[in-house]
Symmetry: C2
Subunit: 306 residues, 2 copies
DNA sequence: CCTAGTTCACAACGCGTGGTTGTGCCCTGC
DNA sequence: GCAGGGCACAACCACGCGTTGTGAACTAGG
């Protein structure tokens, strides 16, 4: 289907005459005639009844018209999505299935009129560079740790402290436990594949491991969360951490167990990163929304790196 | 923007490599390269970073991808809307602003997943012919009157009795009346432009006029409801009827008055017309929905032609 | 370190699509 | 019945797009 033909169809439907539509589009009447004929041939349907006083929509044409307008609007939105001037708010998340993505969905639900584009960048450094460059408007990252030096033109706000749960298969020794303390996890192997040294994740888990004696196992390539979950499901010794707000899904027959960790509960600190002089109106709306859903003040039963 | 290029873009994004996408599309790798280059030139943005192991999406490419998929889905829906096999339910209404259109909106709200195409045909005869031919799936018409002979293969159901209100401008002698009886309207001029003799509307209003002594004035061309409302607003003698469920809108400064008519209240009987052997599943859903919102049994305070 | 095998891009060529001009038919309205 | 407006068909031309052929860049493996 040719979008120019669709555009021509809408122009004719609006004008009521081929000639007028041709003038609107700055082409000849014959070209309009050809485009419509081609579209009709493509759809194998007659779109207009030609009369001596112009062209009237057939029933098929009437049915097609709103879909044609939809199509042109979709084209417009697609083009806008990469137009630097007025494009949708572009936000980076580490992963579409974890907590920040859920925050974004919440924002979208509260502001359905806001155009939103979600992207995923490689690591925190490239994300912050992209924020500074204006390539993206905001990023959800764990910048609180390690207390790294951020440039002055970058603003950050802690937006969610996500409590971690222990995820095990049905054969794991802790599978039946309703809850465990962090101290009880000393010596357990926690599998976090693909978290190569230097990323923000390892900065967090290294400290957690050091403080409570866990064994964080980051070996092996990351084949994605599906592969990770399958391995966990079949292993009696492997476990992993997932956030309470993560939206991981797995087949029911995996029979995975999500076990509460308490005394203290480790929480993963998600922050929003943005450039202070970014004037995008939706960015202000996003920050306001996240402010309104911000977590309560940290209490003693929660653990984050200091 | 070329839809083939967009389709190619999605194919490359899915495959991760130009070559594989080319195989999927049954073209050469060079053609894929050209299409992507053309799309990137059109959008003035780089969509992929080319590596020796394939192509990875840039940030712009990531932002563009969901919109590209949207665009292709919109194309699919547009094509489906005129494909005889699996097309949306196609329903005819007399006018998009009057009560049957509101019923359709109610149905769409209750069944948002149902694809619906609304069209408008010239008159009841062509609508019924289109229903028989399968060009449309259903039509809202006032077939109850006159008791015309309908073919056996056509089913009908009374779906809404819409109470009529008198619409006047602020200078009309009845403008201040809170309510009037039908008998009090004897001798009043009711303007219904464009309702040429023989249409279903005139069949109704002719009987109403004959029974209560109204003067139905159908002269003059129908310039649309906007023009009608403007004329009514400025006239001290003209009035018209509108249905309670009609969704006419007019500027606030017109100061139009909608006056209840009672003892009895004239109601306009809207029916649904369909072909009995039409197997479209959404047709059954529409009929069930209309059944559930069907008007109560007629009572003595309502008037319809007998 | 060099080679074999990827990857994608560039060049040259040819066909087909889609634009233009010119003309004819048909319907409407005076 | 004739004039005028509206759309379709025909011929022509050019640009676009797909093809084949080749080259440059990068990766992986010995």
């Amino acid at each position: 289907m040719d979008l120019e033909a669709v555009r021509t169809f809408v122009a004719v439907a609006d004008a009521g005459r081929f000639q007028e539509a041709a003038a609107d589009l700055s082409i000849t009447q014959q070209a309009v005639s050809k485009r419509i004929a081609a579209l009709e041939k493509d759809l194998a349907v007659r779109l207009f009844t030609r009369t001596a006083r112009g062209a009237r929509l057939t029933v098929d044409g009437q049915a097609f018209l709103p879909h044609a307008r939809d199509l042109l609007r979709a084209e417009e939105r697609a083009a806008d999505s990469v137009r630097p001037a007025r494009r949708a708010l572009r936000v980076d998340v580490i992963n579409r299935r974890i907590a920040p993505a859920a925050l974004l969905r919440g924002f979208h639900g509260a502001h359905p009129e806001t155009e939103l584009d979600v992207v995923t960048l490689f690591d925190a450094d490239t994300a912050i560079a992209a924020v500074r460059a204006g390539t993206i408007d905001a990023s959800f990252r764990a910048v609180a740790l390690p207390p790294q030096q951020l440039p002055d033109d970058i603003g950050t706000a802690r937006v969610l402290d996500d409590p971690l749960r222990l995820l095990t298969g049905p054969g794991h020794e802790l599978a039946g436990a309703g809850a465990v303390t962090l101290a009880e996890l000393a010596g357990q192997r926690i599998w976090m594949p693909g978290n190569a040294a230097g990323t923000e994740w390892t900065a967090y888990y290294d400290r957690l491991a050091a403080e409570f004696g866990l064994i964080i196992d980051a070996v092996g390539p990351n084949f994605g969360s599906d592969a990770l979950l399958e391995s966990i499901a079949g292993s009696p010794t492997l476990a992993t951490f997932v956030g309470e707000h993560d939206r991981l899904v797995w087949p029911a027959h995996y029979d995975l167990r999500r076990i509460v960790v308490h005394d203290p509960t480790p929480v993963y600190p998600h922050s929003l990163v943005w450039r202070r002089d970014n004037p995008h109106p939706a960015l202000a709306a996003l920050r306001a929304h996240l402010d309104s859903t911000r977590p309560d003040a940290p209490d003693d039963t929660l653990w984050t790196p200091t």
